[in-house]
């Protein structure tokens, strides 16, 4: 594989458009960090409303905002934080019908959604739209993060061909999470998104950083593109957004 120059994806901060897909446990610290970064536009996509059980980890929302759309609550947070750019809110579930259009409006995408289905959908949409994005996932005390330059560095499907089958992963009620562990991952995601915009070579691309709060340890695992990847390989099976590629999850 030929080396690529991350400057290809660089955009001046004041013109940069960042999408945070999900205004929850990962989106909160990402938005908090992006608020003071000087980016031009922050997009926030989320279809949920704030619930009391979100507030132990989703620190941009407030108790009085329980019941409000998370997008509106996030916009309120950004305004209060003195964010000087524009805020675009998408109070909708990203699905195969709208995701390409939304993702294409942005220079870099932060994957802050909370289902495997959404994560794979976002991965495919970003690869197909040629948008760099920062994946992260968190469960209980642990999480992982990777930055993806489409068709340049390993994507989520290079590592895992498809979402795990329903039942093999914890259901909603088992999916506990230490709020601040999500905070660590989301804050790293914001830092990664900014490095993408700045054209830096030090992003966590072609490597996964795994974090374990129980031991406060980080582990870096090198990864590489898979030529057989269903979306970014040499003969991709996925070349458009089709519902069949995203089986519903038990908790959806």
């Amino acid at each position: 594989m030929a080396a690529f120059d991350p400057k290809e994806f660089a955009v001046p901060r004041e013109r940069a458009r960042v999408l945070v897909a999900g205004a929850g446990g990962l989106g909160s610290p990402a938005l908090a960090a992006l608020a003071s970064s000087g980016v031009g536009v922050i997009g926030v996509a989320d279809s949920d409303v704030v619930d009391l059980s979100n507030l132990h980890r989703q620190v941009i929302h407030v108790t009085a905002g329980v019941g409000l759309p998370k997008t509106a609550s996030a916009e309120e947070f950004l305004k209060r934080s003195g964010f000087g750019g524009a805020v675009l809110t998408f109070q909708t579930r990203l699905d195969t019908g709208n995701i390409m259009e939304v993702v294409s409006e942005f220079d870099v995408v932060v994957d802050a959604c909370d289902t495997f289905r959404s994560k794979f959908m976002l991965n495919d949409a970003c690869v197909l739209a040629g948008r760099p994005f920062v994946h992260a996932g968190v469960l209980q005390f642990e999480g992982q993060i990777m930055t993806i330059y489409p068709e340049r560095t390993a994507c989520l499907r290079c590592l895992f061909e498809s979402p795990p089958p329903p039942g093999s992963v914890p259901t909603c009620q088992e999916a506990g999470v230490l709020g601040a562990a999500a905070g660590v991952l989301g804050a790293i995601q914001a830092a990664e998104a900014l490095k993408v915009l700045d054209g830096k070579k030090t992003t966590l691309s072609d490597r996964v950083v795994a974090f374990d709060a129980r031991h406060m340890s980080f582990r870096t695992v090198p990864v590489s593109r898979d030529p057989g990847c269903p979306v970014c390989g040499t003969k991709p099976r996925i070349d458009s957004m089709e519902d069949a590629n995203y089986p519903p999850e038990a908790c959806d």
Binding site: V59, L178, T202
Partner: protein
């Protein structure tokens, strides 16, 4: 005191975890944390502590944004009370975000150790953060900074990363909830370079501050 119904709902997603018992949550709600310093990571740390249900957070030192932070923490979780100033306080935990790796930091570390209190220190420089939970015999903050290849003057340019805020909150939350001390190793979180790892730190020979820490004076 048993958890109220609204508290069970608020903390449900941490209470579902095996080790995060009701007793652990009650420990958090009774705990008192003293925080030194200022800056965006410290703000984020306070919000995460408040969100997890830490009962009282005392902010030492005066800063212009303190009222906003107090409002935010209260708006996020009314179970948590954030106070301005920490003089004469007997905390359960000390988190030091002051951009100081000199005698002041060594004195705070020694003071906390002498009082038998956990002392967690965060230093930020050039887009990186160093975090360490001190114990007796550890090198001084200055020597840990040195081990990361950074100098005191680098503290003047912290960079924009906020990773250390939630990291310190995760550390303190686990410890205050009785889930153990995650590590005594110094951690380097260099968001700018994409390097996240342990830092091997040893006292520099004849370091006065290290000697002071070892003395526990």
């Amino acid at each position: 005191m048993p958890l109220r119904d609204d508290q069970i709902r608020r903390y449900a997603r941490q209470l579902v975890m095996r080790d995060f018992t009701g007793a652990a949550q009650e420990c958090l709600l009774k705990s008192r944390v003293l925080v030194y310093g200022e800056g965006p990571p410290m703000d984020l740390c306070v919000l995460y502590l408040a969100a997890a249900g830490v009962g009282d957070i005392h902010l030492s030192g005066v800063r212009p944004s303190v009222l906003d932070l107090i409002w935010r923490a209260a708006a996020l979780n009314p179970d948590c009370r954030v106070h301005e100033g920490g003089r004469g306080l007997r905390p359960d935990y000390v988190i030091d975000f002051a951009q100081d790796a000199g005698p002041g930091a060594a004195r705070r570390a020694a003071g906390a150790l002498r009082a038998g209190l956990p002392y967690l220190k965060v230093l930020r420089a050039a887009g990186a953060a160093i975090m360490k939970r001190w114990r007796e015999g550890d090198p001084c903050p200055g020597c840990v900074l040195n081990a990361a290849g950074l100098k005191q003057t680098d503290l003047l340019n912290p960079g924009e990363t906020s990773v250390s805020g939630p990291a310190a909150a995760a550390f303190a939350t686990l410890e205050l909830a009785g889930l153990g001390v995650p590590t005594h190793n110094a951690l380097l979180m260099d968001a700018d370079k994409g390097a996240y790892r342990e830092l091997a730190a040893t006292p520099l020979p004849e370091c006065i501050m290290c000697a002071e820490l070892a003395d526990g004076r």
